[in-house]
Symmetry: C2
C-alpha cells in the first residue's frame, strides 16, 4: 500500500459526532496546500476531491509519483491560480492517503481498522475538513470548489457553514444521489465484497488484497465516467496491436485493454475498503433529506455566491441534476451563476483538460475576487 | 444446472464452418415452436432471442418453470399471434438451453466442453439456425424478428440469406457493436473470469461454479437495460424494508436489493461460460466489416421488407444506431419502415409490456401478411 511518510496532516483533537452516532477524536486529516496565504487571509480556496482523488491535486503526488488529479487546473497562472490564491485540499476521512480511514493502523492491534471503521457520510467528511480553517486561522474562505463528490462536499459545506465561504463552485454533481448512481456504486461494492481476498474487510495478511474486485469496480466506474460518443471517438472498434480478431477472450479491442489497464493501475494506489466507505457516503448523500425535501432550505441561511457548472455529455451527474441546484438557489433569491460546458468527454470532463471549463473557472475566480475586494 | 430432458432439439448433421476457422457437425440445436405451420408453409416466423434468452419465448419455460421472455408478446391473439403464425425460436449455439455450447457434455471426457468450445459469432449462430428451415421444409419464412442480440441476428440472417424471409423486424439493435457496449460486455466477462471458481472455464467439480462473477455480470448488465429516469421512477432513493439508513454495507436501498436479487436468480438458469461466449459474439458483430464499411451492401441482394424499431430511452442501442440501419436500407431503395417508440423503460422496453410496441408489431405483421397474400 501507499507509503504515507511524506504526507502532511493535522490531528483533529475535537470530538466529531458522526451521522451514524459514533464519535471520533484525535484523528489525522491529511492535507496539502498550494500557493501562499496572504496577510489578510482572504485568498484561501478549499478544494474538495472526488471519489478516488486525494489532497495531491497539483504537482507530482509524492506517494504515487504521478501528476496530481488537477495538475493542469491548479498552479501558477492556471484556473486555480496559485499566484493569487492559497489552495488547500484535504484527503476525506474514509480515504487512504493519510486521513483517518479503514486503512489507518489501529494502535491496539497494529493492523488496519478495516470494516471496524464507522460508515461515514458527506456531512461527516465536510465537518472533519472544517478543522482546516481553525488550523490555518482562516475566518472565511474565499471559495470552496470541487467536482463530482467534491461538488457534493461544496453543497454540504455551504449548508453546514453558511458564512464561511464567499464563493461556492459545485461542478458536475448532484444534491441527491440518483437510483442509477446508487446502483453503479453498489455494483462496485459487490465486486469488492465478492473477491475471496476481501475477507469481510480484514485483508492484507501475506499481502493478499481484494485486487481483482477493486479492479472490477474501477473498470465499471471508468465506463460511466466517459460518454458513449467519447468512447466511440477514442476507441470505436479499433483492435489492440493485432490485424484481426483472435477468437479468444484476450483483449482484442483497444477499449478492452484500456479498461484492464485502468483496473490494474488503480489497485496500486487505492484501498478497497476506502472504495466501499466513500461510495457508501455518496449513496447516502441527499441534502434535501434534513429539509423535508426542500433543497432551497439547505441554503437559506447563506450569503455565499454560487457558480454551478455541468457538462453536456455527463450522464452520471447530468445537467438536469445540476440545474436542480440552480433552481433551488433561485427560489431563495441567491446569487447564482450557471453554465453547461459543451464537451464529449462525459463526467470526466471536469478532470480532463477542457479549455472552456478551465477558462470559465479562471475568469470567474479572478473577477469575483477583485469585485469582492472592492465591496 | 438446467435439466434439459424436456427440451426438443434437432441434430445438425451438415458441417458448419465457423468464422474462427473450425468446423462443427452433428451438433444439437434446441428449439421450440408456437402455433401451427399452415399447408402452404407461408406463415412461419423465426424469432431470435437476446443474450440471456432461450427458445422458450412464450408459455412456461419447462426448465426454469418461469414465464417465457416474450410470454406477453407471443401467443394466441398477441403481437406475434399464434392463431395466425407458426413461430419458431431456437437456442443460439453457445447458449445453455440445449443447443451446442460450452456446457454441452463432451462424450470423450463426460465433462462440459468448457472453454474448449470455439469462439463463435452472430454469423455462426444464424448459419446454425438456418438448418431449422430444412427441418420444417420451409422454403421461405414469412418473417424474422428479434430484439437486441436477436435483432443483430435478424440483420445477419437477411444478409446471409437474402431471399429466405419476406419481412425482417430488427428491434433495439445495431449493425456494429459500439465501444461502450464492448466495454460493458468486457466488464461482465472480467467479473466471471475474476471469480476463483471459474478455473479457466473448467468448473463444476463439487458443484462449485463462478456464481459470484456471473451474478456481478448480470447486475452490471441489468443497470444498463434500464434508463436513468426509469430507475428513478421505479426506485428513487426508497429504502428496503427499513425506516432509516442502517450505516452498514447491507442493502439499504431498494435498488440495491433488487440488483442483488437479479444477480442471484440469474445464476440458477444461466451458464457462466455461455455468458462469455455470447457476449463475445455480440462484441465481434460488425455487419459492415465484410462490406468495406458500407452497410447498404450487406442488404443489396435482398428483397426483404424491413421494419426497424427503437425506443426513446434505450441508451445501449439508441435510436441513432437503429436509424443507421434505416439509412443504409434507404440508400439502396429497400422497402423499410421505422418507428421510435416512446418509453421510459430503457433497452428492456422490448422485453416488457410496452403497449405501443406490441400494438405496432401486431398490426404490422397482420397487415403485411394479408398484403403479401394478395400479391
Amino acid at each position: 500500500m501507499n507509503d504515507l511518510s511524506k504526507v502532511k496532516n493535522i490531528i483533529v483533537k475535537n470530538p466529531l459526532k458522526l451521522d451514524c452516532g459514533k464519535e471520533i477524536s484525535n484523528f489525522p486529516l491529511a492535507y496539502e496546500t498550494y500557493g501562499e496565504l496572504n496577510d489578510n487571509k482572504d485568498n484561501a480556496i478549499l478544494v474538495f476531491h472526488a471519489l478516488t482523488g486525494d489532497q495531491f491535486a497539483s504537482g507530482i503526488n509524492p506517494v504515487t509519483k504521478k501528476e496530481g488529479w488537477w495538475a493542469h487546473a491548479l498552479g501558477p497562472g492556471k484556473a486555480f491560480d496559485t499566484k493569487k490564491f492559497f489552495v488547500i485540499c484535504a484527503n476525506v476521512i474514509g480515504g487512504c492517503m493519510g486521513s483517518y480511514g479503514p486503512s489507518t493502523i489501529d494502535a491496539k492491534t497494529n493492523k488496519p481498522i478495516g470494516t471496524n471503521f464507522p460508515v461515514i457520510t458527506i456531512n461527516d467528511m465536510v465537518n472533519a475538513q472544517y478543522n482546516i480553517l481553525d488550523f490555518f486561522k482562516i475566518e472565511k474562505l474565499f471559495a470552496v470548489a470541487g467536482g463530482s463528490m467534491g461538488g457534493m462536499q461544496v453543497l454540504q459545506f455551504v449548508s453546514n457553514f453558511p458564512n464561511k465561504a464567499k464563493v461556492a463552485i459545485p461542478i458536475a454533481c448532484t444534491a441527491s444521489h440518483s437510483a442509477q448512481n446508487i446502483a453503479l456504486n453498489e455494483l462496485g461494492r459487490q465486486s469488492i465484497m465478492a473477491d475471496i481476498n476481501w475477507k469481510n474487510g480484514f485483508y492484507g495478511e501475506n499481502e493478499k488484497n481484494p485486487d481483482k474486485g477493486l479492479a472490477l469496480a474501477r473498470m465499471a466506474a471508468h465506463i460511466t465516467y466517459l460518454s458513449k460518443k467519447g468512447l466511440e471517438e477514442k476507441f470505436g472498434r479499433k483492435l489492440q496491436e493485432r490485424d484481426d480478431l483472435k477468437f479468444s477472450f484476450d483483449a482484442d479491442f483497444q477499449i478492452e485493454s484500456y479498461l484492464r489497464h485502468q483496473g490494474s493501475v488503480f489497485v496500486d494506489r487505492f484501498d478497497a475498503n476506502s472504495y466501499l466507505y466513500i461510495t457508501r457516503a455518496m449513496d447516502y448523500f441527499d441534502l434535501t433529506n434534513k429539509f423535508n425535501g426542500n433543497l432551497s432550505k439547505a441554503f437559506e441561511k447563506s450569503k455565499t455566491k454560487f457558480f454551478v457548472i455541468s457538462f453536456t455529455s455527463d450522464w452520471l451527474y447530468p445537467t438536469s441534476e445540476n440545474r436542480d441546484i440552480v433552481i433551488a438557489l433561485n427560489a431563495i433569491g441567491a446569487d447564482v451563476g450557471f453554465i453547461e460546458i459543451e464537451s464529449e468527454k462525459g463526467h470526466d470532463s471536469f478532470l480532463l483538460n477542457t479549455p472552456d471549463f478551465l477558462d470559465t473557472i479562471k475568469n470567474y475566480l479572478k473577477s469575483t475576487y477583485i469585485n469582492e475586494k472592492r465591496i
